[in-house]
């Protein structure tokens, strides 16, 4: 068997270490080694977005990189979105209010994608949000609730002026 290597990540503000083969995908490391199973595997070829995490401040497909490549990186996963006492993040609340989830499988990836989208742009239209959220596939909702939730979140973060939708 291939030699295992030590990988240390800052995940949701906590330093976590584990061992991984050089070929171990980041998503498998997060899920199997660190037991953070909120990040999902939907396609393993970088299309569906279920595995999206925030890596070094930007959304990234954790199925498209190896855990060893992420050594030393700062990562935020779905488990780090709510407060430490379980108070949901505003975007999580908006997802519930707007019925932006049904089966919930794509939801962690959608939330991380939306966080990145809204954080990295201070001016968004609804069309921008539709395009940005097209980084993830949802098979249940038809996207209406997801788009509405993210539009509302963009309003909350940037104010009405910065939101042109």
């Amino acid at each position: 068997m291939t030699q295992r290597m030590q990988v240390t990540l800052s995940v949701n503000g906590e330093t976590l270490s584990g061992s991984a083969e050089p070929r171990t995908l980041l998503v498998d490391f997060l899920r199997d080694e660190l037991r953070l199973t909120g990040t999902h595997v939907g396609c393993e070829h970088g299309v569906c977005g279920a595995c999206t995490v925030i890596l070094g401040g930007f959304a990234a497909r954790s199925c498209l990189m190896f855990a060893v490549q992420a050594d030393g990186a700062e990562i935020q996963t779905i488990e780090g979105l709510a407060s430490s006492v379980g108070e949901m993040h505003p975007l999580q609340k908006l997802f519930a209010e707007h019925r932006a989830l049904q089966c919930g499988f794509c939801t962690p990836g959608m939330l991380m994608t939306a966080i990145d989208l809204v954080q990295t742009s201070n001016s968004l239209t609804e069309a921008d949000i539709r395009t940005g959220m097209s980084a993830g596939l949802c098979r249940c909702t038809g996207y209406e609730g997801i788009v509405n939730a993210v539009v509302e979140y963009a309003r909350q973060v940037h104010g009405e002026k910065a939101f042109n939708g």
Binding site: M1, V41, V47, A96, G104, L111, R139, G142
Partner: protein, 794 residues
């Protein structure tokens, strides 16, 4: 009736109650099969056939077995030596249906891993168990197998040729099922029709494609001789039954649970070989075993759907009144038929849709080919037949120079004809009667929602004058929902006074825990927080059926009601004893039972539960057994009929064929909506699947039987930016068939979009006399329609 219930309860039915499922899923704390990790768990992976049809020669597993970390390997021969095939249909049809529909059905056995022959690309021929999935996949690479290719039956028509090889030699033919039925004079009526049109309609192959692939984890407990199986399935009780049959274990020693399931849409609606194999491995190896399908495997190996060819003739008079319809159609079933002739059975029952058509005759062949098995997917035979019928209705309109909307109005069953005897038999064996609804009103509302028919025609004319092409696409359907044979529920009041409900339904995102809690909270007059719901666990309900066929709201609510009524009857007897009152003076109020008109005479469910206990100092009257718990089964009299009218405005670029949907409307009626917000989400989600299927998604095979679309790079699911503006209008005509007036609605949205888009394209390109009678609606095909003839403004 439904309004009465709302008045009585003033309660939760009819409210968009927030989902109790959401919090865990939003926090990343859901538990899907892939998330389950058990001590000592090992992982299995399958070697899958690269060929569509081949004899299996020597399979060498030695090198794979020698890989460090590999625990077990098995060829098809090894599996077949220990396990029987899945035999026959997983869904049986009742005598009443077979009496009325001519059937000739030969269902092939499906080996769990075949030893002699592979029949589609992706069928497993060997398996490996290893410490990790990575190692298991390494070992798969070292398996050497010899295949002797056989002639490939690449599609249904080739499989029907006289010289065609057989997919299953023992059947002696490539037709798994012939079906035939008729109404009125059937095809004989065609001769007396003033006008007749014949066309071929083709509905292509696509699939449910849930975001979570399938997966199974199984654990065997040697001491108790019990198996626990977690499967990403819609039918836990079927999975238990097939495992019981294959392993020779009593069903009661097997617990099957569907944890959080990441979408199903029918694709997880029957038992697959892996459900049984993983359970077998767990018992054989005496350690927990996990298998999670990867996406490529899912696309190759989990059921596909649609893939029908219809030859239709439609007879009508000068006024566009449809007098007779005949159809002869093929279902490309692929290599096996997991649910037998179920899809075709749906199609023959749904062809006439919302129309009053006196004569009808249809026959069907369910054809075995070397494609991936075909099983029901959201709509299950209705999108296919709806495509043929609703295109044909538009062709009738063209022929008579009438508006397609007008032809629909002229043929629709009016509201005052309800309940309407169709003259066919449903697959539950009961003569079809549309129970309630106003079909013309649905169409009127749909037209209004796109701006009104006159307005649309005016806009279309103006656009044409500018060289632009705007089309109005219409599509109507009816849908039998809430089908039997039954659903089970257990209801109990436990000692804290909380209402515990377990139902045989297996949700995949529908929100059943919330919806069932709404029903129970109203039945028991308690805050919804006091209702605890368990679903998808055979350990909680002895017999259940599962969540397929738009059935759970109807069937589970029925079972919860019967069980609740039985428990309440007993609770009343005990309460009467406690309050020293007559039972007839009692009423349910304030989370308990009280004497009507006497506010202080009241006991809570908690008081009654304690009084009902076995043992000393109970307060049961003589002859009343201890405990407040009942399991009941609801056997619906027949299906409830949901229906919808769809209208879409679509712009076509005649040069590129590009389609832009300005607006898509569905007016949908599923009776009383228990949770309107969730109902709306079901319909909208279904519509987007229908649009994906109509426009983007395609499981394309080459003529060698190789699947060409094996990843999400080729199989295109709709994204947020592909979705047009959608409006769903709900009508709520109660069903007279159940206590709550509900009908099913899980599938409906997915039925109409392919034909609505095709009709819109043809409507827009009317100047070219365009006809588009197949799916998917590809830009290049649309562009080709405009090349064949120069436009002539009529």
């Amino acid at each position: 009736m439904a309004n009465d219930i709302r008045k009585q309860t003033g309660g939760y039915i009819g409210q968009s109650v927030p989902r109790r499922e959401d919090r865990n899923l939003l926090l990343g704390k859901g538990e899907f099969v892939a998330d389950i990790q058990l001590p000592g768990m090992v992982h299995t992976a399958f070697a899958r056939s690269p060929l569509p049809h081949a004899e299996i020669g020597a399979v060498s597993l030695g090198a794979a077995r020698a890989v460090e970390g590999v625990r077990f390997t098995a060829s098809g021969a090894d599996v077949c030596a220990e396990l029987p095939p899945i035999s026959g249909m997983q869904v049986v049809t009742p005598q009443g249906w077979r009496d009325r529909v001519d059937t000739d059905i030969l269902i092939p056995d499906q080996p769990l891993v075949p030893e002699d022959r592979v029949r589609y690309v992706g069928e497993a021929y060997a398996l490996v168990v290893a410490d990790t999935r990575y190692i298991a996949e390494d070992a798969l690479e070292l398996i050497e197998a010899e295949f002797d290719p056989r002639p490939t039956l690449a599609h249904a028509e080739s499989a029907l040729e006289d010289s065609a090889a057989l997919v299953h030699d023992q059947l002696g033919r490539n037709v798994a099922a012939f079906l035939h039925t008729k109404k009125g004079d059937g095809a004989a009526a065609m001769d007396s029709c003033p006008h007749r049109l014949s066309r071929r309609f083709v509905h292509h192959r696509y699939a449910a494609m849930p975001m979570e692939t399938r997966g199974v984890v199984a654990e065997y407990n040697r001491r108790t001789d019990t198996l626990t199986v977690w499967s990403s399935t819609q039918v836990v009780h079927w999975v238990r039954r097939e495992i019981s049959t294959a392993l020779g274990m009593p069903e009661d020693r097997i617990r099957c649970v569907a944890p959080d399931v990441g979408g199903g849409f029918g694709g997880k609606g029957h038992v697959y070989p892996e459900d049984i194999l993983v359970a077998w491995l767990a018992k054989k190896l005496d350690r927990p075993v996990k298998w999670v399908e990867d996406r490529h495997e899912h696309i190759l190996n989990s059921a596909h759907s649609r893939d029908n060819i219809y030859d239709v003739e439609i007879g009508f008079d000068d006024d566009g009144k449809i007098l007779a319809v005949t159809s002869s159609f093929l279902v490309d079933s692929g290599a096996y038929t997991p649910v037998g002739a179920g899809i075709a059975g749906n199609s023959i029952a749904h062809m006439l849709g919302p129309y009053d058509i006196p004569h009808y005759e249809t026959d069907c062949k369910v054809v075995l080919t070397n494609r991936t098995p075909n099983a029901p997917y959201r709509g299950a035979g209705r999108p296919e037949v709806g495509f043929a019928m609703e295109r044909a209705v538009d062709l009738v309109a063209n022929h008579r120079g009438l508006d397609p909307a007008e032809v629909r109005f002229r043929n629709m069953i009016p509201a005052d004809a309800m309940p309407y005897e169709v003259g066919l038999t449903y697959r539950d064996g009961v003569p079809m009667v549309y129970d309630s609804g106003d079909y013309p009103e649905a169409l009127r509302r749909a037209l209004t929602a796109v701006g009104g028919l006159d307005n649309v025609r005016q806009r279309q004319k103006e656009a044409l004058a500018e060289g632009k092409y705007l089309g109005l696409g219409l599509g109507c359907y009816v849908e039998g929902t809430g089908v039997g044979p039954f659903e089970g529920a257990t209801v109990k009041i436990e000692s804290t006074g909380k209402i515990m409900v377990a139902a045989g339904a297996c949700p995949q995102g529908q929100g059943h825990e919330t919806v069932f809690a709404q029903f129970a909270a109203d039945m028991w007059q308690v805050p919804i927080e006091d209702v605890f719901v368990t679903v998808a666990d055979t350990g909680e309900v002895t017999q259940g059926y599962g969540t397929i066929a738009s059935r759970s709201t109807v069937t589970a609510s029925g079972a919860i009601k019967i069980a609740s009524d039985a428990v309440q009857e007993k609770a009343f007897a005990i309460a009467a004893n406690m309050l020293e009152a007559g039972e007839t003076d009692l009423e349910i109020r304030d989370a308990g039972v009280g004497v009507a008109g006497v506010p202080e005479m009241h006991v809570t469910w908690r008081d009654i539960a304690r009084a009902a206990k076995p043992g000393w100092d109970n307060q049961r009257p003589d002859g009343v057994e201890a405990g407040l718990e009942t399991t009941s089964y609801y056997e619906p009299p027949t299906v409830t009929w949901a229906y919808a009218a769809n209208a879409a405005l679509v712009w076509i670029d005649p040069d590129t064929g590009q389609l832009k949907i300005e607006k898509y409307v569905e007016v949908h009626d599923a009776g009383v909506l228990v949770n309107p917000g969730l109902a709306d989400g079901q319909v909208k989600g279904g519509l987007v699947q229908g649009l994906g299927g109509g426009l983007l998604e395609e499981l394309a095979y080459d003529d060698q039987g190789q699947l060409l679309t094996g990843s999400f790079a080729d199989y295109l699911l709709p994204t947020a930016s592909d979705v047009p503006p959608i409006e769903v209008v709900h009508m709520e005509t109660p069903s007279p068939l159940n206590a709550f007036g509900v009908k099913g609605l899980g599938e409906g949205g997915a039925i109409a979009p392919p034909v609505v888009i095709a009709n819109a394209v043809c409507d827009a390109l009317r100047p070219f006399k365009a006809e588009l009678n197949s799916t998917p609606v590809r830009w290049e095909d649309v562009a080709a329609l405009t090349e064949e003839a120069s436009p002539s403004v009529t």
